[in-house]
């Protein structure tokens, strides 16, 4: 890991350079959107897969996480 040139004010540790974070951030954001979509909304308003199996399997999680999606 590279050491940040400008130490943060009163922080425990130096800031992580943005170029180290960016690829992870993009990947994680995309995967998170995908996962939350499948748990929260798939086969409700829209369907990627036909049928209702995805919807039914995560049924209780979807309700109890409070998604207003069905």
């Amino acid at each position: 890991m590279t050491v940040a040139t400008r130490p943060a004010v009163s922080s425990d540790l130096p800031a992580i350079p943005m170029r180290d974070i960016a690829p992870w951030a993009i990947l994680a954001a995309l995967l998170a959107v995908l996962l939350v979509y499948f748990v929260g909304a798939e086969q409700g308003a829209w369907s990627v897969f036909a049928g209702t199996d995805v919807h039914e399997f995560v049924h209780d999680a979807r309700h109890l996480l409070g998604f207003p999606c069905h």
Binding site: L31, V58, G66
Partner: protein, 236 residues
């Protein structure tokens, strides 16, 4: 950075185990009661509308066990990953406190913007409630509101960056956010689809349990992540 991300994913997984317990204990009774309501209801009303909350041949046991866990774990791990990345961006750049304080701030702001505020405008409904014909509009309005909430958070934080007084900083930031979100809440349509015959205390119990489930998931992800980073993340 890699280690930070691993710790985040791990924290999310640990949190979803805790949340599974709370969901079973607090959420499932309300869910089962609502499903029982629907079953009695469909006997009297026959088949006038397509029933989206039908179990589709899947057993309640499967839905309330493995299904619930997989759903929670997927959301928990995603949350842990996002938390780790937000932490990496914020630490020493936006927030300058200790590890624990930084994690606590991110978790609290995220919980307010992603869960509490959208829930006030679009609360979740138990099975048996909800008009299948409006699901498209409801889902779209909900995700639009959620996206706006997240999009407002960034500018609200950066707008107050230069203000020296901590108290004024927080007041002005919260004011900008509250103003934008109140405007959106007024402009976006509302959906009032709960059957007047549906028991009010059961609806309240269900909605309170969704808040409890989300609060457990977010709080335990934050606590686990803060602890893991302090214990194993010092070399990052």
């Amino acid at each position: 950075m890699t280690r930070l991300l691993v710790l985040g994913l791990l924290a999310g997984l640990l949190a979803s185990v805790v949340t599974f317990g709370v969901a079973r204990l607090v959420g499932e009774p309300a869910l089962d009661a609502a499903i029982a309501m629907k079953t009695t209801d469909s006997h009297t009303h026959a088949t006038d509308t397509p029933d989206l909350s039908d179990t589709g041949g899947m057993s309640r046991h499967l839905q309330a066990g493995p299904g619930l866990f997989v759903g929670l774990a997927a959301v928990g791990v995603a949350l842990g990953g996002i938390l780790a990345i937000s932490f990496a961006v914020a630490r020493g750049r936006i927030l300058h406190g200790s590890t624990r304080a930084t994690v606590a701030w991110i978790t609290a702001l995220g919980f307010a913007a992603v869960i509490v505020v959208p829930m006030l405008k679009f609360p979740g409904n138990p099975p048996a409630v909800g008009n299948p014909e409006t699901i498209g509009a409801r889902t779209l309005a909900y995700f639009a509101f959620l996206a706006l909430s997240l999009a407002t958070l960034g500018p609200a934080v950066s707008a107050v960056k230069g203000i020296a007084s901590r108290r004024r900083k927080m007041l002005i930031g919260a004011g900008i956010y509250a103003g934008v979100m109140s405007g959106a809440a007024i402009l976006l349509p509302s959906f009032h689809e709960v059957d007047p015959a549906f028991p009010r205390d059961l609806l309240w119990q269900f909605r309170a349990s969704t808040l409890a489930v989300q609060a457990t998931l977010w709080a335990s992800t934050g606590i686990a992540f803060g602890w893991l980073v302090e214990r194993f993340g010092q070399s990052i």
